[in-house]
Amino acid sequence: MKKSVNEITRLQNTIDGLEKLVLDSTFTNESFDSLEQKRTETEMRHIFAASAARAKLTMEERPAVAPERSSPKGKRQIPLTVRLREFAMMLHTRPDIEPRLQAVFESSSDFDDLEMNKIIADVGKLLSQQESLPIKAKSKKSNSF
């Protein structure tokens, strides 16, 4: 057909194509019972509520939506939520840290989604009160949690 592309691009292209098929589909409820439909609607309501709660916090504290990537000094400024995600991703690439972090989460097995969303919202609120995210680097010898 043509060109060879790497696996990341192949995956991206495949998902793009399948997404278009989903959007274009004249889907009917034939595949779902009403219980399934209800469950999806409930999931979606929860996701929307969590997003709306986060958005409300953000909008309350930053009534005017500031340009996302510029600071008063004209320096590049990344939103704290994005930086938190970057930090989480960094952890993901550190096999020596991730198991310990995982253990922390697993020890908190009684968290449910709503509690987690609240925690995330609280952390977001806390962090947005600061000008920057102070990540204290630990020494390589003592990076335990």
């Binding site: 592309v5 192949r10 399934e36 550190r94 390589k140």
Partner: protein
């Protein structure tokens, strides 16, 4: 939280809220399918994370909804952008030491400065694995697999038909089977 921007071609934040709560059951299922598809092979985000982030951006105005674009397509596009960004960042942080986390002034991205532009073997392997997972859904459908292979290469329908020898009718029929399988696989738990 009203943010009426209709004159600029973008919907207001209130419009976003109304649009979401007005989605039909079928549209919600489609949205879930898309989010689940899009989260395949992502280093950290689940489909719920992707959708929540897309809605968050829409509800804060960080990502504006062009009124000319259907709402579902807008959310799909936003999730695509978030997922691409996550993959790109995962590629960019191939080697990190803890000292890399120390910011001089605490105001710039700590990880963006450490750019390694090649895809990591891990990310390539994860992508391969995610792709295999999708392909396996169609293991008993050779025509669907041919379409998937064409999609993976970014080919147009006419190109896929030409290379596979499928007639337009058979192609459409295989597409419908793909749609049904996706609905069954990603629209349900």
């Amino acid at each position: 939280m009203s943010n009426s921007n209709n004159s600029s071609g973008f919907a207001s934040i209130d419009d976003v809220k109304v649009a979401f709560v007005s989605l039909t059951g079928e549209e919600l299922v489609k949205l879930k399918q898309i989010a689940r598809l899009r989260s395949h092979g992502l280093p950290t985000s689940t489909w719920e994370d992707l959708l929540q982030e897309a809605l968050f951006r829409a509800l804060t105005g960080t990502r504006q909804w062009p009124v000319s674009v259907p709402f579902l397509a807008f959310l799909a596009q936003t999730m695509r952008s978030i997922a691409s960004d996550e993959r790109r960042r995962a590629q960019d942080i191939e080697v990190i030491t803890e000292s890399d986390l120390r910011g001089d002034e605490g105001s710039t991205s700590l990880l963006n400065d450490i750019a390694v532009t090649t895809a990591t073997p891990e990310l390539l392997a994860e992508s391969r694995s995610a792709l295999t997972e999708i392909e396996n859904l169609f293991s008993n459908d050779p025509e669907a697999r041919q379409i998937l292979e064409g999609l993976a290469l970014g080919a147009l329908p006419a190109e896929i038909q030409a290379s596979s020898g499928m007639t337009p009718v058979r192609y459409s029929s295989a597409q419908r089977r793909i749609q049904r399988t996706l609905a069954k696989q990603y629209g349900q738990e």
